[in-house]
Structure formats: C-alpha cells, structure tokens
C-alpha cells in the first residue's frame, strides 16, 4: 500500500478483460508442515518483483505444531496483488490452493463465489478426510458446485518430478509446495528465475535438494502450460502498479517497527536499550533487535514484563533510549511502572502489539482493544503520549516519531500496533536517511548560576524537565515515585505543590498537540455528510470502503488518526465539519469514547471483535447504513 498511487476509483480499461484483472487474491492453505508461509512469501516476492502492489495476511495456527491433517493445524497465507493501489489482503480470495481436506474445510467459506479451488487429491485419502470431519470427499460430492475446482494429484506429480534425485518419500513430498508455487507462477505469468536463484542460495549446502526443488518448481509451471488447453486453468496477467520511483523491498510490520526504533535512536543520537519479555505477537520486534548490536542496541530479555519496563526506565535514567515492548497482558503488568516513568519524567517508548483479549484471549489473533488501557489504564492522573501505526510500512515512521516525542518531551510514549500489522507484509519504498530530520537529545551538565541543581526546572515552551545523566560531575540529585517539589524534585507533600505538579504534567502532554502535524483527511474533503474515522490497522479497509462509497456517489471522507493522545489540535474542528461520524474499530468502541469525551461529537461505533480484520464490504455496508443507498 505504500507504493501505488493510482487509486482504484479510476479503474483502468483493462478492468473488463477477465484475463487481465486489476487485482487478484490468492490464498495458500495447507498443513503446518506443508510450508505455506514459505510458498506465500516467495509468491509475494515474485509479485513484488513484477511491480505489483500487494498486501499479505499470514494466518497461522495457535499451536506450535499441531498434529498433521487436523483443522486446527491448518496454516494459511493470503495475498492480494494488483496493478492498482492495494490496501488490504482482500475480502475474498479468488483462488484457494488447498493442500489437504482440513485446509479446504477451514478456508472454502472465504472463497469468492465462482472462485477457483486447486486441491491436491493425493492428500484427500480417508484418514485426512476423517481428520477434517468429512464423511465423503467434497471433491466427489457437489458441495463445491459454486466454485471452479481443479483437483489433481500434486503429491504424485511432485514425486514424479523429483524422482531423478532419489530423495526419501518424506523429503520428496516436501517439494510439493515448490510444485504448487511453480503452477501459481505460471498462472500469473511470472518469471521463475529469481525463485530458482533463491532456492540455490537456500539449499547452497545441499545441491540435490536445490535441484529437486527447482525441478518441482519447473514441473508445476510446465503442468500449467500443458493443462491450459481448454481446461479451467487459465493464465492471468496482472500489470505492474504505478509506483513512486525508488528502491523497494517487502517488509512486515514487526521488522518495520524494529527498524524504525533503530532509526529513531539514531536520529536522537542515542544508543538504545530494549528491555522486553517474550509474548505473542510482540516477540518478533525483540528478535529483530537482538541481532542489531552493531547499531548500539542492547536487548535484555527480562524475567517478566515488570522487570522489562523497569530496566528500560533505568536505562533511560542512565542516558540511553529506553524501550519496552509487549502485548495486552504484559502491558497491563507494566501499568504501575509507567506511572513511575510519568512522575520521574523520563523518556520511554512502550510498544503494544495488540492481540485478542481479554486476559490471555486469542494470542495469535488481531484486535484493537487496548486503546482504553493505553490512554486511561494507570493509577492516578497519569497522562502519556499514545500514537498508532496503520500498516506494516507506517510502523517505521511511527516508531521514529515515538522516539522523537519521548526524548523531546521527557515522557513515556505508547506505540500501538497489532497482530495483523506485525505479521503482514507489504512493499516498502526504502526511505533515505535524508528524509528524516535529526532530533538530537540534550543532556544537562551544569547547575544553575547559583550552583543549584534543579532536575524539575522546566523548559518554558515544552515544560520538559532536563535530562541529567548519572556520572555527570556536580549534578548529583535524587528522583523517585513520590510527589516532588517544583524545580528541586525533592519529596513534597504540600497540597499546592501537588496541584501544581499535576497541572504541569497534564499541560506538558496536552501541549504536545502543538508539536505534531495537523490532522489530514485521507480520502474526500474536509467537510461532508459522513466522516469515517479510524486508527491503526483498519486503515486499509476503511480507505478502500470510502473510495468505493465515493465512487458510488456518497459524500463520505476517511480520517485516520495517528496521534491518539493528545489529538491533533485541529481534529475537533475538522470533525464538526461533518454531519455524521462513523468509527470502525476492532473493539467494542474505544476511540469512540475518546472522541465523544474530547469533542462532544456523536461518533457512532462500528465494532468487529472476531480476531479478523474488517472486510471492505463490512465498512461499505455501514456507510450505506448511515447515508442510505444512493438513488
């Protein structure tokens, strides 16, 4: 989504030629062991290399390695790629590749009516059918009559193709996914060369395996060519999407956020301390950073989330950029320590990769239900900054912004992302160091003229207090979690002082609104009948839905909020320019609460809490619901 700038409101002529679609959604589904994530990843690369815009949605099972053939062991990977601006992984797959009955069972429901099913009959034996809960094979009865079905023995064909290499049966069958990939490459008229190179490097140590996989890849491709004549297997051509010039790569939200933190620390001129405790879906950020020591990053796997945030606070106190990361349950545990960072006014970045709640909830599913916790979830009047990433690539910029705000305002900043963003991939136009202005952190190293050390004497503009590093001569002082006196920071229990400090802590965070960009409108005008207001990973479906509704003649606009606390200064005014406000969220209505409180606008919630992203159609329908259908 970061790439294409041709919105699909203006459909290209090609749109009407079936063999030449603007975009296609393919879903690869198979057993955990079938390597579907790998297949999807490589197919994605080929789409990228052909210049398509795309978005992906990996959907793995909750279990580490569920028993073979079971429905809960199915692993799927969906990609939406096209010649147009792609913002979501797609509402409905056009093509479903089902490597076994369980995969078919669990994914067929999503397939577009009339969509294509490619199934490996070799896996549709009685045992697998039973495991999937089929009494008779869906390939044999008419349960798939609404779809086009291409069922053939991929297993056998693969074994056939790799026979020359004399692999064991198990190993040989492992090449199935490459055979399938080969077929898919043919279907979309893709170049095999990069995949062949990739296989060569992947199996550099084992030439036989390399060649076997390449043979499978080619066999799948060849099968398409030969099978084409007359059969339902057609070849499709998806043009490259228009994109800004530049160097591109694919990136997941997890990696993007990690890289953003690296860049942020770099721009602040600081080394980074990353204290974290593993938890799904936040762990990838820790995993990425653990390998980047040469960038001045220390990662610390703490004993729990409380130690993780406390160690990050300690590191910030000592002059590094302290960062901590977790998901809902772990963030809940950090609440008390956030209060310490707030009252001691130390920079701290807190990343929350949201997942299904409450409690342990649905660890591997996505949700946006931690906004309340982010803004309100602490004891006392404890304001901090909250910002959210809207997509994998956006995570990079948001992470940098978090580092800027934390260090420039001496405050904790919470970054909200979610399980969908963390795992999804999209093309990323690699930015240039020059695209970002540095924001070097400052440390106070000399007392006042009168020799006093005043750790709570504030900047007149931003109200931030000085950052004083232990080890600085002549600046010894003491801070802590008890209310502190204005300027000196000594313990102080006086009523007037507590009032003053509470007020200034609030004023400091409220004042951040003056240092962030004004709220812009993503799609549509600055006034109108309806504003659809979102935050985070609902960006794609909202944008698409609003584009389509506008194409259908509705006076609707899309506003997507990155700065959730404090809000951009102009947001209230902007919203008042619309008759109605609709707030789609993957929770029971949390941003809705904040908007109504802050602006007294009648924001209406559209809630989905199923662990799945919104479908474009769901939001379109809600827009219709509020505006009525256009005559």
């Amino acid at each position: 989504m970061a790439t294409a700038f041709r919105p699909d409101e203006t459909l290209p002529p090609a749109a009407n030629d079936p063999s030449h679609p603007d975009a296609v959604v393919v879903r690869f589904a198979g057993d955990s062991g079938d390597g579907m994530q790998l297949t999807g990843g490589q197919f994605t690369l080929s789409a990228a290399l052909s210049g398509n815009d795309f978005a992906t949605f990996p959907d793995f099972p909750a279990e580490i390695r569920a028993p073979q053939g079971t429905t809960f062991g199915v692993s799927a990977f969906q990609i939406n790629f096209g010649a147009i601006d792609i913002e979501t992984a797609g509402d409905e797959p056009d093509v479903l590749v089902a490597m076994n009955p369980a995969a078919l069972k669990t994914n067929i429901g999503a397939l577009r009516r009339g969509g294509l099913v490619i199934a490996d009959t070799g896996e549709f034996g009685p045992r697998n059918l039973a495991k999937a809960g089929y009494t008779i094979s869906p390939l044999d009865d008419d349960s798939l009559m609404n779809y086009t079905v291409m069922a053939f023995d991929i297993s056998a064909l693969t074994l056939e193709a790799v026979k020359p290499f004399g692999l064991g049966n198990k190993e040989a069958l492992r090449c199935k996914n490459m055979w399938t990939l080969g077929l898919a490459l043919w279907m979309f008229d893709r170049d095999r060369a990069p995949l062949v190179d990739w296989l060569k490097t992947k199996f550099a140590k084992n030439e036989v395996l390399a060649n076997a996989n390449i043979a499978a890849l080619n066999a799948g491709h060849a099968y398409g060519e030969t099978a084409e004549i007359g059969g339902p297997l057609k070849q499709y051509h998806v043009d490259a999407a228009e994109a800004l010039p530049g160097h591109y790569r694919t990136i997941t939200g997890g990696e993007s956020l990690a890289l953003g933190l690296v860049a942020g620390a770099h721009l602040a001129g600081l080394t980074m301390f990353f204290g974290s405790y593993p938890i799904t879906p936040a762990s990838p950020i820790l995993h990425h950073l653990a390998r980047l020591k040469e960038f001045g990053i220390t990662t610390f796997q703490a004993e729990d989330e409380i130690a993780a945030i406390c160690s990050a606070i300690g590191a910030s106190y000592a002059g590094q950029l302290g960062v901590t990361s977790s998901s809902g349950p772990g963030i809940a545990l950090k609440g008390e320590a956030m209060g310490l960072a707030i009252i001691t006014e130390l920079p701290l970045v807190i990343v929350n990769s949201q997942r299904g709640g409450p409690s342990t909830g649905l660890p591997t599913k996505t949700e946006q239900s931690d906004l309340y916790q982010a803004i309100y979830g602490r004891n006392g009047d404890a304001p901090l900054i909250v910002i959210a990433a809207r997509s994998p690539t956006d995570s990079f910029d948001v992470a940098i912004e978090a580092c800027r705000l934390a260090t420039q305002f001496m405050t904790p900043v919470m970054v909200l992302t979610d399980g969908y963003i963390a795992n999804a991939a999209e093309p990323w136009r690699v930015p240039d160091r020059a695209d970002y202005a540095p924001f070097p952190a400052e440390f106070a190293d000399a007392p006042e003229e009168d020799g006093k050390v005043l750790p709570y004497k504030r900047d007149a503009e931003t109200f931030k207090r000085p950052w004083i590093r232990p080890g600085t001569p002549g600046m010894t002082h003491r801070i802590g979690g008890i209310e502190k006196a204005v300027d000196t920071g000594n313990i102080n229990y006086e009523p007037a002082n507590h009032q003053a400090m509470t007020d200034i802590r609030k004023a400091k965070i409220d004042g951040v609104a003056r240092y962030i960009p004004a709220q812009e409108v993503e799609v549509g005008g600055t006034t109108g009948r309806l504003a659809v207001v979102g935050w985070g990973s609902t960006y794609g479906p909202i944008r698409k839905a609003v584009q389509r509704s506008r194409a259908a003649g509705h006076d609707v606009a899309h506003i997507h909020i990155r700065y959730l606390w404090p809000f951009p200064a102009n947001l209230g005014e902007l919203l008042k320019g619309f008759d109605k406000v609709l707030v789609p969220e993957m929770n029971t209505g949390q941003l809705k609460t904040v908007l109504r409180d802050q602006f007294l606008v009648d924001a209406r919630p559209l809630n989905k809490v199923s662990g799945q992203p919104f479908k474009i159609a769901e939001i379109e329908a809600a827009i219709e619901g509020m505006l009525g259908s256009v005559k």
């Binding site: 790439t3 990228a48 290399l49 052909s50 210049g51 990069p194 490259a240 228009e242 800004l244 010039p245 530049g246 160097h247 591109y248 790569r249 694919t250 890289l259 690296v262 860049a263 301390f273 204290g275 980047l292 020591k293 040469e294 960038f295 220390t298 610390f300 703490a302 004993e303 729990d304 409380i306 130690a307 406390c310 160690s311 990050a312 606070i313 300690g314 590191a315 106190y317 002059g319 590094q320 302290g322 008390e336 209060g339 310490l340 136009r429 690699v430 930015p431 160091r433 232990p470 080890g471 600085t472 001569p473 600046m475 010894t476 002082h477 003491r478 801070i479 802590g480 979690g481 313990i491």
Partner: protein, 345 residues
C-alpha cells in the same frame, strides 16, 4: 600521576550526606547503617557523581535521599530491575541497591532471584527488620513464626524465608551478613562487597524500634553478643564465645555441631572456606539457640558479572562491524522502480 586511572578527589563522610532532612523514627537502626555507609564511601575510591543508590519502597528505601550521590527511589520491589537497566546502560557507574525484607523478598523476590543468578555487579543491602515498617508494622516474609502484627493478630503462621539461604539457592556469588550496630566492622564488610565483581548480597539485621523492637536482641544485645555471634573469616577456624567454642562437621551425621575448645586446640573445628558453597550453606542453616548466628562474609566465589558478559558479547559480535543504517534498511531482496515505469531486479 597516572593518566589511565581517573583522579578521584578525596572525600569525607560528610561529602556523602545530602541536604535532605533524615526522616526515620528516632532510634531506628537505619541511622546507624546510613552512618556506616557514609563513613565507608570515602575509602572506596569512587566519586559521588559516579555513584547511584537505587531503592524500592519502604523505610529502608528512603536511603538514597540521604546520600549526596545520584539516587533513584523507584517502586515497591523493583529496584533490582531498574538497577539492571542503569548498570547495563553505563557499567562505569557504581550501583548500590538498598531494599527491605518486604521490598526485596516479598513483592520483589523474583527480581532478586534473577539479579542474583545473572550476577550483575552491584552491591545489594537488604535491611532486614523482619517487619513492614513503612506501612505500620505488618509481618513480613522474614518475620518469625508467631509474630503478632496488625495482619497476624493471633501470630503469623507462614514459615519465614532465610534471606541468605534464598540468595545462595538463587545462585549468589557473594553472601554476607551483619548487624546495624556493628559499626566497627561494617566499613570493612562493605568494602569487601564493593570490591567483589558481581552481585554482593549483604543482609543487615536492622532494628525497627517502633514495630519490631529488640527482635534481634538475643544475639545483638551486649550480654548475648559474644556467645551468640560467630564472625567468620576465610581460612580461620569457626570459633566464637571468645574462642572458647567452635563448630565442627560431624562426618557421620553430615551436619555441624558445637564443640568446646579446650586450651585453644582447634584441630577438629571447621576452618572457614568462603569459596565453599557447602560451608556457607551449613553456616546459614545453623539453627539459632543451639548454634550462634554466623556473621561476616559467608560466601565469596566470583564469576563473570552480567554487564561484563553483555558488553563482551556486544563487542565480540560487532567486532569490526559498524552499523550502516542505510544498508540495514535496504536489507533483503529488493527492486527498483525507475522514474520511467519499468521494473529491474
């Protein structure tokens, strides 16, 4: 003058006292410990501005406010975690943790465990008054069975933990024990703790005059001191009561026993080996009454400290590599989009 070692300006105990009014109860054992620490600091060859005192919450945890150093009064039980971040961020800093029996062993037990097993190079002073002082006298995890307190009006019934035994079990490499009033020996003990690279666990029996007064009197009070205190010294036989008694290892029962020392012959008295974990365990496990209380450096067996291991690995791994942000961002297979629409690999 040596250019490598920085010159530390000489200091006096007063240089280590902050301008903050000390607010402990009159007669609290914390005053004595504060005095001993302030007397010790000038002898450590460290500068106040390179010293950080980190504490949790409790009467004892108010300690940092009274030291003219950097100080961080954190939240209940979390001082070890905050200290870990500080020390990893700047290993040059001389970090001290001050905690209480509630702060360090009740809510903070888990961080204590992991601090000790990781062996971060800090000095940890556990002020053990066997009570929650700041919250007005509830029993703590070190309170003796039967302790009457607002939360245990009929006497506490949960078996107390032995701090030094816990520390050893957690993997501590330096374990020492002393008494708030042991003013003569404390500076020496603190110096040992300070010179030890790794986590130095120092338990200090501290009298809470308001809520748990005289709970240690049976071995701290003048009359009982000699007979009930066993001050250990590496390589010296484990004798007490003015050299009239010693402890010996009964080989058949595999346990210690007290023996009288007749005309100074201490042959079969166990000789203290502070590097022997087993000896330390025996000394710590000695049931009071039948045995004296073992004090001094009970165990000292250095190993690589955590911050050293972290930074060594960082250096080893980054050897000759400088982080190139541009290259990092471009990592992995990519493609270029030329101003003229067309894709090249």
């Amino acid at each position: 003058m040596n250019a490598i070692t920085p010159i530390i300006a000489a200091t006096k105990p007063d240089d280590w006292a902050s301008d903050q009014e000390v607010r402990w109860c009159p007669g609290c054992g914390d005053y004595a410990i504060l005095k001993a620490v302030q007397r010790t600091m000038p002898e450590l060859g460290v500068a106040p501005h390179n010293t950080v005192f980190v504490s949790g919450i409790g009467c004892s945890s108010r300690f940092p406010y009274y030291m003219e150093t950097y100080g961080f009064h954190t939240i209940h039980g979390r001082a070890p975690a905050v200290a870990t971040g500080i020390k990893l961020a700047n290993p040059e800093l001389d970090v001290w943790i001050v905690t209480g029996d509630g702060d360090g062993l009740s809510i903070g037990g888990n961080h204590m465990l992991h601090l000790l097993r990781r062996n971060l190079d800090v000095q940890l002073l556990l002020f053990n008054n066997e009570i929650y002082g700041l919250t007005k006298g509830q029993s703590s995890p070190t309170s003796r069975l039967g302790t009457r307190s607002p939360t245990t009006p009929y006497g506490s019934i949960d078996r107390p933990v032995t701090p030094c035994a816990f520390a050893l079990g957690a993997g501590a490499r330096f374990v020492a024990r002393t008494i708030d009033t042991a003013q003569k020996t404390m500076p020496g003990l603190l110096k040992r703790a300070h010179s030890h690279k790794g986590t130095s666990f120092v338990e200090i029996y501290q009298n809470c005059i308001v809520y748990n007064d005289d709970v240690f009197a049976n071995f701290t009070a003048k009359p009982n001191a000699a007979t009930n205190q066993l001050w250990v010294e590496h390589g010296k036989p484990l004798v007490f009561a003015g050299g009239t008694k010693g402890v010996r290892l009964n080989h058949d029962l595999v346990q210690l026993e007290v023996v009288d020392i007749v005309d100074g012959t201490t042959e079969d008295v166990l000789v203290h080996d502070e590097t022997n974990r087993l000896v330390a365990q025996m000394l710590i496990d000695m049931p009071f009454g039948e045995f004296p209380v073992a004090l001094g450096v009970l165990y000292c067996q250095p190993a690589t400290s955590f911050e050293v291991a972290v930074h060594d690995q960082n250096e080893r791994v980054t050897e000759g590599r400088v982080g190139d942000l541009g290259a990092l961002l471009r990592k992995g297979q990519g493609w270029d989009v030329k101003p003229v629409r067309e894709v090249s690999l």
